[in-house]
């Protein structure tokens, strides 16, 4: 019998890996076989509506604009992304989704919604609320740790701080 910490730790890692794996397999079996999971996440970061700047999109994905440029080159070639220079300020590059890009993005959102719907389906209203509250708490806690590393100048010191600090932020 695993202790609680081990159960939690294994479940967290397994959930993360299986969500990504299921997403990847559903992509490969579906209509958008030519998209990798990273490319799908890039489309999601751009979103189905307004055009976005390269800088803001790279920031949201946590990658450099150089890395994003390579990804966008490929997505433009595959016909999922439209790229153009700002009409007023030529230094700014704006990216938006083509019709096919919007379609892929919305199908992917649907995949996540269906997954969530099915997870919640087995519970009554009170349990669903409790489950969502707990998931939110885990979400906030993990995000709090991520921010610590983002602002960190010394990874070792941050790791030790993360290991010893048990305070939790509330949403």
């Amino acid at each position: 019998m695993l202790n609680e910490e081990e159960q939690m730790s294994q479940a967290l890692v397994r959930i993360f890996e299986n969500v990504v794996l299921t997403e990847e397999k559903s992509l490969q079996a579906g209509y958008f076989k030519d998209l990798s999971i990273a490319e799908m996440h890039t489309l999601t970061a751009i979103g189905p509506y307004d055009a976005r700047t390269m800088t803001k999109t790279a920031e949201d994905l946590g990658i450099t604009t150089g890395t994003l440029t390579v990804a966008i080159d490929r997505l433009v070639k595959k016909g999922y992304v439209h790229r153009e220079r700002d009409k007023r300020d030529k230094r700014i590059v704006r990216i938006s989704l083509t019709h096919n890009g919007k379609l892929a993005c919305r199908m992917n959102s649907k995949f996540h919604r269906v997954l969530a719907k099915h997870i919640l389906a087995g519970y009554d209203e009170a349990d669903r609320k409790k489950l969502l509250d707990l998931v939110n708490e885990v979400d906030v806690y993990v995000e709090q740790q991520l921010r610590r590393y983002d602002d960190s100048k010394n990874v070792r010191a941050t790791a030790s701080q993360v290991a010893n600090d048990t305070t939790k932020e509330k949403k």
């Binding site: 019709h99 919007k102 379609l103 919305r106 199908m107 959102s109 649907k110 919604r113």
Partner: protein, 87 residues
């Protein structure tokens, strides 16, 4: 808006035309009372093809949360008319 009745008719005609093109059926087969889930043979890809075409035609946003409320062809026309008036 010059005539809201006239605009509504235009939206209805466009919604039915786009739907018929997506499903590759005749527009005559589509009536306002048809229900998306049971009467219209959309798969999820076709449904989003249709939704995105409507969004682009009327420059409106139809996110999933809003689509959850849309049950019939008539509901879709109502939503597009309402959103276009806000624009």
């Amino acid at each position: 808006m010059a005539d809201s009745g006239e605009f509504r008719e235009k939206v209805k005609k466009d919604v039915i035309r786009i739907m018929a093109e997506t499903l590759e059926i005749s527009p005559d087969e589509i009536t306002s009372d048809l229900v998306f889930n049971s009467d219209l043979p959309f798969d999820s890809l076709q449904l989003y093809e249709f939704v995105i075409d409507v969004e682009e035609t009327y420059n409106v946003r139809l996110p999933d949360e809003l689509l959850d409320e849309v049950k019939t062809v008539e509901d879709m026309v109502d939503v597009v008319v309402k959103l276009s008036e806000k624009e």
